[in-house]
Amino acid sequence: MITRANRSAGVVVVALLLRWSTVAAAQQPDTASRADSVSKANAVPRLQNDLPPMQRVVSLNASNVRLESVLDEIDRQAGIELQYTARVVPVNRRITVHLTRVPVATALDSVLVGTGVHVVVTPTGRVMLVSLDTTPVDTGLGVLGGQVTDSLTGRPVHGAVITIEGSSVTSTTTDSGVFIFSGVRAGRRVVHAKRIGYLAAQSTVLVVDSQLVRVDILLKRAPAALDAVVVTATGSQLRRELGNDITILRADSIVATQPVSSVTELLATRVPGLSVEHSSGAPGDPARLRLRGAASINETNDPIILVDGTRLYYAQAAARSANLAGLVGTIYGNPNAPSPLDQIDPNSIETIEVFKGPSATTLYGPDAANGVIVITTKRGQAGPPRWTASFGHGMTEMPGAYPDAYFRFGSFGQFVQKGGVSSFCQPTQPCAVDSLVRFQALNDPKTTVLGRGSNTAVTVGVAGGVNALTYALNASVDNEVGLLKLPDVSAQQFTLNHGTAPPDWMQRPQTLNRWSMTSRLIAQLGSAADVSLSTFVTHETQQRSTLENVLGAFMDSYFDRVTGNFCSPGNANCYAIGGFSTRTTDDATNFTSSASLNWHPRTWLTASANAGLNVISRQDEDLHPSGLAPGSDSVGAIGIGHGSSLVKTVTLYATATAPLPFGFRSTTSFGANYVAASTADLQAHGAFLPAGTSEINPTVNQGSSNDQTDVASFGWFVEPRVNNNRFFVDAGLRLDGGTTYGTHVTLAAFPKVAVSYLVSNEPWFPGALKPVFNALRLRAAYGHAGVQPGIGDKLRLFSRSSTWLDGGVVDVAQLSSLGNTQIRPERSTEIEGGFDAEVLGDRVSIAVTGYRKMRYDALMSVPVAPSVYGGILSVERNIGTIRNTGLEVTFGTKLVRTDLFDWQLDLNLGRTHNLVTATNGGVPIQLGVGQRVVAGYPLFGYWAPRILGYADVDHDGIIGPSDVLISDSAVYLGAPVANYEVALHNRASLLRGTLTLEASLDYQDGLTQLNRVAVDNLWVSRGLNDPSAPAAEQAAAAAAFYNTPYGFFETVSTLRFTALSITYRLPAPLAQRLGASGMSVSMQGTNLGLWTRYSGKDPDVNTLATSNGGRIDAGTLPVPRLWQFRVNVAY
């Protein structure tokens, strides 16, 4: 069957192959509909004729039948002209096979298992069965080429890395999925194909001297599959080799059809074990990410972020994550600056891998104990430029209404009439009530500060190149306008007072404008090396105003229509809302660049180097123009903040492989990693800003401060691995030094070991289970990772300042830190175990992981009794032990899979139980109002004196303060994190993917939150003002007013309709008529529904979200509802 030809024919064949690849590209289902004639039609459905032979679909259902019958049936269904002889193929072998709608390649692989027969596809498309044992010759050079296609869609897979076993030469598939090697040594060759997000695949072919041999490779998508390629700290590995559970998100496919505008949105609900808590719904506001729960009290709980190997500055819990200008902070409270993570354009990302705990992150170095998020940007592929573009435009709004406020009016001797309304009756004072009014300024169209927002996003990308150099470029522009608007009445007042309309920034104070550019170049340096250059630049301008800081004040204000003022019983005053008069701007540029070099000097040795920089520069401003606000607020002021961060990352490692006895193979990596992070911030402010100016110079009462931190760490690591393709053992050790470690601890050692066992590949795996379990893997991992102490924790520090003393300003130094020279890094250990199963073919996939993560030597800020230094200082001590245990389940199933209708359902469940097991000798740590760290209870748990009971003792018809009995000591009320979270993602595809519907739900069970805005606005609570309120509500309000906010800690569950999208893919001819090769349109929505018993607006608002722990709803703006229209175009 295989014939020899002269060598010159190879050149011709290469030319033919290249031509064939062009044709193949034109045959893609979504770009062309040309139907080849079929020479041997049989019963092959016409649609299958368009597919390459090995991709045609067959179904087999036979028990104990001859192999020849099965092969005939495959031939009949697929029309592939199957060729073989009985001398090679054991045709009389009896087999049982049950396969439904699988590609021919899969079917043949299944029925030929154990026969030693291999499948070869000739350049003319014939499929031959050959015995490799009878390889005729092993001399000469041939040409090997083929095409890599997606097993699900049949589309070509670009960017797949193709290697030939025993050769250091690699190739990358083109836009058409084609690859080709010339000068391949003749004989049996194993071809490997890898692509992030797909299962790795391999195929064995016979290369014949001077001939072209074609091999087509199908890659299966691998959302949770075992052979997905994962980028670890020591290079690419197959997922099945790792003993940890790792979540891989294919960002490009998610972004294409789902409403995702930030990396945070990309991660939310898609990673079991990851909790995302929003700080507010203002455009660009950051969220808190916690992987497998928080475990540190004072040090960071934020995961580390790597973008193409480079650390990103991501100290979300640091004070400097807020606006740096400082002026607003001294008056109203600083708004949060956008998260550096969200400065990465999600459209530029190829994959995101989430490593959740120390057992997986040991080698990533300091701070890896909180998990690692590895982001890989898109890479180009050889071929002509391939353009993509998308345009989205949407509208945001606040769903539902705010709870009513209750106002009592009447006579109260010491208050005069204010602004035309009766005096407010103070809840604590006797008052002759004449009316009770329910009102909510935020629900009244005239007074509300909530309007409709909008967002617009445009993205353009191009990728292409030649084999030696590929490129991928991406650019995007976003513009978001938040919900806040100046109340109509305030705008009218402003116009009346100033003779001109308020400036735009006052009228719509929340805006975010961002542009981003990403590029990645990969160059082949000869046959044994490649270099990759990756860069992204983002510039954004976020604008806010103090209007949002007075949302709480709006909520407890009554609008007096006579004077146009807002009146609040809280301060017994009426006033024109002046909170709109300070503009806060955050102007940030994020530049990240990395260079990676991969060198394969030998088939058994590779070496890699990566160096990267992440620079973030921010210029913040608070501008309070003179004369724009009413009353004493009319004095102008200005604050500026300049901040920068610089993170340098250098990683070097080498990996050597060697065979071992008994079919085992060893792989050892050895390397070093250096990370240095510096920040430098400057703040300055001044008051009495002259009208028309916006500089500090002419102001008085000026003040300034600066702050600088420099932290560095360096670690060696070694990672030996052994496997026999079924059993994988992975060990590792990292030795770290860090600038912030104590003087007595200079070298911290973090070991790890992981085991992965693919039991379904064992010969002894029961045959009866094989049809059920496509794959079954057991895994376990154990590892350590650290968190650095804070800068200065080990030092006795002084603050220097200029202070007025004895008639002049002098330099003074005062203790600011007592210091602890014995300090050590926090140490986190984790053991996790679980299994992965692929059941019923690829119809069902399950991954279950249980973990137990311990944080030892947790640094606790131990309060120092006032008798030492007034109680204003604390000392960091390694005294805490915190345990996180949990369970993560990923379940995916293809409920329906037909030509016309495809329904995929994915479910993620994450459960984390947190417990402080040891503290400062049992002494609780008080963290703030109600928050404590107490041994035997969850970290950051809420505590408050309890309402023991209540009764109308004084028979005045209401439950007042004297009617409520409150416990002397505080009791535990709940943890500020959900018991568990379940996310459900549905994806239904109709008409072979022409129409796609996706819907997601998210359920969180039992999180405890303080409804702080209700406590702050007790003056207008129903409990204190309405005698007909339920007694429990009255008691809660009375208790909160005098002593304990017990009644306002709420443990609630939420069910949220998180996202819906409907995508229609235009028919190829129509798209082509519009000048595109493909086009789709989507209607998308987020935050579409919320079901909860929470008494506030939305429990998913957490003012403390940028802090280390805790959960308080202080009345900031919840995340709004979004509806948007989106168009995706490919050229």
Partner: protein, 460 residues
């Protein structure tokens, strides 16, 4: 193949070993060295740095003594608990002022208490901060200051001594005097009795006197402080002896700047803008609770006060004339007037009535312009004590002496608290004045100091 494996393994071990030996991670990142930044402790490990720490102590003292506008300085807290000041009289929105109404339990959870109920907590903290800062500054001066800093060290002893007097005056018996250990950690101490705290202060003043021989200002400060502490201990003759060398005219003041000149430098008497809800949180009292002295109605120029308008609740507030309303007035910490008063009391205790009276009249004739008319001997021992303490109250008005004197009247002169402190119906609430004559050590001390178990007694 086995050989190649061995070679490979051996090679890696060799590489690892060489690398580890040649290049420790700690060496590379400079672990153990100080991070650069503005808070480098090395900046205080110089003569100038040590002096800056010394000045830091003085700045630390100015705030809890008489700075900190509104309600957080020792003069105000002690004045409100005594009969010098009263709060807005009708209580606040949370009910009666515990300090003013003398109902001061040790709150189990002070963080949940309204701020006004725990004002003494800030005073307690501020005074202890002075102690800790002084201890650290003394260590720095001794280590880096050279030989010329003896007076500065003595000055720090004196300031720390005054802090301890204030603690003993205001708080219950059982005050822990924990320490910041220079160059080391810190050490918790159990509660010391009121007597022990005064005795401890005496040792500080002795040290100050020994060290500050070349600074008359510091020397006299220490002398008056020593006399004050000895007086509190009932060691009258020793007290008189301590202050004997303090000549007329000596005055040690803590200076403050007007509001707006420098932040945080104004004194407690600062009156905030008129549109504030709290233009002046306390008011000069007059016969508060019946037992209080007639500071306003006596017309005495030493305690004169001026009405500055109604507060939020319509109550007229009286501001002391001796302090400017912009907070710029200096406050006397120690002076010759106090020295003569100490001598007068010692004379009275010794039965030398003429000397006692002469000392009082000497002050009335020379310490104020125009001079006050001489006072006369009331004829009885009790009345003499009353006169002595009235003179002290008027001369030392709003300088943080009255609270200590009122406790001394109970402790040393056998008066009942109801004869000294305000009693009867508290005007700011629905109940009567309580019976507390001091403040409890804040609950945080019990919570975090394992050696502290609470007040030993709550008596005078």
């Amino acid at each position: 193949m086995i050989t190649s494996i061995r070679r490979l393994t051996g090679g890696w071990i060799l590489v690892l070993g060489v690398a580890m030996a040649a290049c420790s991670p700690d060496q590379i990142v400079g672990g153990g060295t100080l991070p650069p930044g503005t808070q480098d402790p090395a900046i205080t490990q110089t003569p100038a740095g040590a002096v800056a720490a010394y000045r830091g102590t003085l700045a630390s003292f100015a705030s809890p003594f008489g700075g900190a506008p509104y309600y957080f300085s020792h003069i105000v807290v002690a004045g409100v608990l005594s009969d010098e000041l009263q709060t807005n009289s009708v209580g606040d929105l949370y009910g009666a002022d515990p300090l003013d109404s003398r109902v001061l339990p040790e709150y189990s959870n002070p963080t949940l208490e309204p701020q006004s109920r725990a004002l003494y907590v800030g005073d307690y903290s501020g005074l202890h901060q002075v102690r800790g800062q002084a201890e650290e500054a003394r260590g720095l001066l001794r280590a880096y200051g050279g030989d010329s800093v003896r007076a500065l060290v003595g000055h720090l002893y004196a300031i720390e001594g005054y802090s301890e007097i204030f603690l003993a005056d205001l708080f219950c018996s059982g005050i822990p005097l924990s320490t910041v250990d220079y160059g080391g950690d810190y050490t918790y101490q159990p509660g010391s009795t009121t007597t022990e705290v005064y005795q401890h202060a005496v040792t500080f003043f002795d040290s100050a006197t020994a060290l500050a021989t070349d600074s008359a200002r510091v020397l006299n400060l220490a002398r008056v402080g020593g006399g004050r502490a000895l007086l509190a201990l009932g060691r009258y003759a020793e007290a008189a002896q301590a202050v004997a060398a303090v000549s007329d005219g000596f005055q040690y003041v803590i200076a403050y700047a007007a509001s707006g000149v420098a932040s945080s430098a104004a004194n407690f008497a600062l009156v905030t803008p008129s549109n504030s809800a709290y233009p002046w949180v306390a008011s000069v009292a007059d016969r508060e609770g019946g037992q209080g002295l007639d500071y306003r109605s006596s017309g005495d120029p030493r305690t004169r006060a001026t009405a500055i308008g109604p507060n939020l609740f319509g109550t007229t507030l009286y501001h002391p004339d001796k302090y400017a309303t912009d907070g710029s007035s200096p406050i006397v910490l120690a002076d010759w007037v106090e020295a003569r008063l100490i001598e007068a009391e010692a004379a009275l205790q010794a039965g030398d009535v003429p000397t006692w009276l002469a000392k009082l009249n000497h002050l009335r004739e020379t310490a104020i312009t125009p001079a006050l008319p001489d006072t006369t001997d009331p004829g009885t021992a009790t009345a003499r004590v009353d006169l002595l303490f009235r003179e002290r109250a008027f001369w030392l008005f709003l300088t943080a002496h009255r609270q200590g004197d009122m406790r001394r009247l109970i402790r040393q002169y056998g008066r009942d608290q109801s004869q000294v402190y305000p009693t009867g119906l508290y005007p700011g609430g629905t109940g009567a004045y309580g019976s507390d004559v001091n403040a409890p050590v804040p609950a945080l001390e019990r919570q975090y100091n394992p050696k502290f178990t609470g007040c030993l007694t709550r008596g005078a």
